[in-house]
Symmetry: C2
Subunit: 205 residues, 2 copies
C-alpha cells in the first residue's frame, strides 16, 4: 500500500506558510530538556497556557500523550530510546508544518539525540530549552520517588545517577530554575518568542 503512494505534493496543497499566516504566528518547536524532576512539563504547560491566552495555536507532546500511544510499543533499550526521540521529532515536524508552536518535554539526555531532532527542522525552528535544575533539587523534590529507587538500585540507567545527562552547550534558552519561579521561566520563553518574531508582542486571544 505505501509503495503505491507517490511523494509529490498535490496542486491544491495548503502550504506551511499559509497555515502560519492563518494563525498569525511563526511555527516552531520548543524542545525542553532536563533531568527528571527538573520541571520540564510544568514549565512547558505554563508556556502553553500563556501562549493559548494570547491566542496562539499550540500543542504539547510529553510522556502523557506519547508514551502509551505512538510510542507504546517501545521499551527502554538504547535502540528504543533513539527511536522514541526520532518519532517525537518527526511528529513535532508535522505539527510545525501544520503551523503550530509545539513543545516537547522529555529528558532527552543525549546531545546526539537532540542534534538529530534539531536536524529535522528548518534553521531557527528548533528552540532548545535547557531546564537547568541542580540534581540535588530534583532529587529533593523526587515527586515520583524515582531518585530514591535509583539510589536503592531498584531501577537502573537512571539519568543523573547511573546514566549520563549531556548538558546542553548551546541551548537557545537556558532556564536557571533554582532562582526563578515557574512563571518567570515561562515568561523568559515568551520573551524569546516575541524577540525572535515567532509571536506578536501584543497578540491577544
Amino acid at each position: 500500500m505505501m509503495k503505491t503512494e507517490n511523494t509529490v505534493w498535490h496542486q491544491q496543497h495548503i502550504s506551511k506558510t499559509q497555515r502560519s499566516q492563518q494563525k498569525q504566528q511563526r511555527p516552531c518547536l520548543l524542545w525542553f530538556t532536563g533531568l527528571s524532576g527538573s520541571g520540564k512539563s510544568t514549565i512547558a504547560n505554563a508556556v502553553d497556557a500563556l501562549l493559548f491566552a494570547r491566542g496562539c495555536h499550540t500543542y504539547l507532546l510529553d510522556g502523557d500523550n506519547v508514551r502509551h500511544g505512538l510510542n507504546g510499543d517501545l521499551g527502554f533499550s538504547d535502540a528504543a530510546r533513539i527511536e522514541n526521540i526520532r518519532r517525537i521529532s518527526e511528529v513535532s515536524k508535522l505539527f510545525v508544518d501544520a503551523g503550530l508552536i509545539v513543545s516537547t518535554a522529555f529528558i532527552s539526555p543525549f546531545a546526539s539525540d537532540r542534534t538529530m531532532a534539531r536536524s529535522k527542522l528548518q534553521q531557527g525552528e528548533f528552540i532548545e530549552v535547557f531546564v537547568d535544575t541542580p540534581i540535588e533539587i530534583c532529587e529533593q523534590r523526587d515527586p515520583k520517588g524515582l531518585y530514591k529507587k535509583a539510589r536503592n538500585g531498584e531501577i537502573t540507567d537512571f539519568t543523573g545517577i547511573d546514566s549520563t545527562y549531556d548538558v546542553p552547550k548551546n541551548a537557545e534558552i537556558h532556564l536557571h530554575t533554582a532562582n526563578l519561579s515557574v512563571e518567570q521561566c515561562a515568561q523568559q520563553i515568551i520573551d524569546y518568542l516575541v524577540q525572535h518574531d515567532f509571536i506578536n508582542a501584543n497578540k491577544q486571544g
Copy 2:
C-alpha cells in the same frame, strides 16, 4: 528516560475542548480509504483547501509527509503495514487532541486496520470516507504506472490485483467518484461536516 515520566496531566494543561473552542470547530479525523489511483489524496487536498478557505484549522497526513519521515523505517511486511496504520492513527489522534480537523489519505485496504484506527478516537470523531472508484478507472488512469507493473508481476501484493481491498461496509461518507467531479466529492464531505456540527455552516476565513 521515558520511564521517569508520569502519566498525569499537569494542572495548567490546556484541554482539547479549549483548543476546539479557540478554533471554532469540532475536531475530527477524515479517514480516506480507496484503491491506488482512486483519488484519495486529490480529494483530501481539495477538502483541505475548502476548509482552509472557511477559516478552519486542518492538517493532512499522506504518503508525502509520513512515508519518508515518521514511517521511514517501515518496510512492506504485514507487520510493517499494521504498524504503519497504527502510527498514522496515533498521530491523527494527537492532531485531533490539538483541536484540528485532520485528514489521512492511505489505501488502508484492510477493514481490521481501519477498525483499529477508529477505536483510538472518541465516538463520532472518526469519519471513514470511502473513495469508491472502480478498479477499471483506477487502472486506466494509472498515474504512476503501478497497475501496469503489478499486471506484469514487477511488483507484488498490489491492492486490487494480488492483494485484497476490503470494501468499507459502514463508511460515514461514500463517494461514488465515477459520477462526480473532485469538487463535488469535496463538497459532499463539507456538507457532512456542516450537518454533523463539526464546522459552522457559514464560517468564513
